[in-house]
């Protein structure tokens, strides 16, 4: 497999290999805390912090971690940073901390972070690992904010607590409820699948046209 460039490391996590929308990782937080954009941003920030710090640390210590205990080591590193994120959030953003609740701790079992360590940070330089982590983190943020925006706008008629539609808007409350979380992600995936299908059909058609001409 050819070596990826540094910009590729950074960019691929953002859309093409988006952790939530393409790889289907980190679904628990993606569904649970996206009932408002504020919560989505807070969770994304915490996760971004954890994944970047973890990737940098794992990559710097990769020589010292024996192969047999590597998963336990990764989990230990991730759990440490999650604990730090939890404490810092509770101190500096207590309202957000209360809203996110147990899901901050659940960042530890976000398969996305563990996956990046195993697949990338353990085998690459610190700088590249950081790029990879940042790309993944941004991708995660985009997915979460997309969902959060959809759910908040339709479910409460506001965005970041700013009312958008005026008093006569009847909010579609289901979207800020758990069922809405599932449905929102389902619709987004369907939409993405549809767009991808159209793109492929068009590509096939142009290929056919070229072949027959």
């Amino acid at each position: 497999m050819r070596k990826t460039t540094r910009s590729e490391d950074l960019v691929r996590g953002i859309w093409k290999e988006n952790p939530v929308l393409v790889q289907m990782l980190g679904l628990c937080p993606a569904l649970a805390v996206t009932n408002s954009v504020k919560n989505a941003l807070a969770m994304s920030a915490a996760t971004f912090f954890v994944i970047c710090c973890s990737s940098v640390l794992v990559s710097s210590c990769k020589r010292f971690i024996p192969n047999e205990v590597r998963i336990s080591a990764y989990i230990l590193v991730i759990a440490t940073f999650v604990t730090l994120a939890d404490m810092l959030l509770q101190a500096y953003a207590p309202v957000q901390h209360k809203e996110l609740g147990a899901f901050i701790a659940l960042i530890v079992v976000n398969c996305m972070i563990l996956g990046r360590q195993e697949a990338f940070s353990a085998k690459n330089t610190v700088f590249r690992s950081l790029l990879d982590a940042m790309g993944t983190g941004v991708g995660f943020t985009i997915a979460l904010v997309m969902m959060g925006g959809f759910r908040e706008i339709l479910g409460t008629g506001s965005f970041l607590d700013h009312p958008l539609f005026g008093p006569h808007f009847e909010p579609w409350v289901i979207f800020v409820l758990p069922a809405g979380g599932f449905l929102t992600l389902g619709f987004i995936l369907l939409a993405m699948g549809y767009i991808e299908q159209r793109r492929r059909d068009r590509a096939d058609k142009t290929a056919e046209a070229e072949a027959s001409s």
Binding site: N67, V69, A73, T80, M87, A91, K98, G115, T156, V173
Partner: protein
């Protein structure tokens, strides 16, 4: 297709957990090195956490104390200062027994006016509402048995419906208008105008009734203690005695 997904996700975990560390059946790096690495990593992790904790703990505790203070003053308007009284062996006292953990004891807050007299008592309680537990704090005047205020501290009720228990200003205001305890919930407009009636919220009957129930339950729970008299002293003393 789902199996493929599982494989991509599990490919990492399965392969690696199989080779995860467990004792003597192990080849490769010596067991000592494995354990040592994890021990060192664990120690460093612990150190880092302790340091950050030292920094953040005071900030967090200060915030929590402030929130509680705000809530108590909100439900006890007219109160200048308050003392926290713990229920120890059936008696109200300001002092906890030595080595006791604060959170193990039920407590209430006795507020004093500028004249030093007891102005109100605030109690916090949580019980299941519609969706999950509702935690609230309410204040009342022990002499008249009338409420002075109520504040929902924590609730996960349905947005748009159950969350009206704190978003519906008219509902919340009722508890500040001095209804007499114990409360009776009535449908809006169907009440007889009795002093202990509180209107429930249409469309959020269960959540609003839960609020009323929580307050009444708290009163039932504390009644035996309160009947014996409210301590009037300032921190340290606990004179029990009849009200003036």
């Amino acid at each position: 297709m789902s199996d493929q997904d599982i494989n991509t996700n599990a490919g990492n975990d399965a392969a690696t957990v199989d080779t995860a560390p467990q004792g003597p059946e192990h080849e490769g790096a010596s067991t000592f090195r494995l354990v040592a690495t994890l021990a060192v990593a664990g120690a460093l992790a612990g150190l880092l956490i302790v340091l950050v904790n030292l920094h953040t703990r005071p900030i967090i505790e200060k915030y929590q104390a402030e929130q509680l203070q705000k809530a108590v003053y909100e439900v006890l308007p007219g109160v200048e200062r308050y003392d926290t009284y713990y229920l120890v062996d059936g008696n109200l006292t300001v002092a906890l027994p030595p080595n006791a953990k604060e959170k193990d004891y039920k407590r209430l807050y006795i507020g004093h006016g500028s004249d030093g007299k007891v102005r109100g008592v605030a109690i916090s309680k949580g019980e299941s509402g519609f969706q999950d537990v509702i935690l609230l704090i309410f204040g009342f005047d022990p002499q008249t048995g009338r409420m002075s205020g109520m504040k929902v501290l924590d609730s996960k009720e349905t947005p748009g419906l159950g969350d009206k228990i704190y978003k519906d200003k008219a509902f919340v205001q009722q508890f500040f208008d001095g209804p007499k305890l114990p409360l009776v919930g009535v449908k809006a407009g169907a009440g007889k105008g009795l002093p202990n009636e509180v209107d429930t919220i249409t469309g959020a009957t269960i959540s609003s009734r839960a609020v009323i129930r929580i307050i009444n339950d708290a009163m039932t729970e504390w009644k035996p203690v309160l009947d014996r008299g409210i301590p009037r002293g300032t921190a340290g003393s606990a004179d029990e005695g009849a009200q003036p």
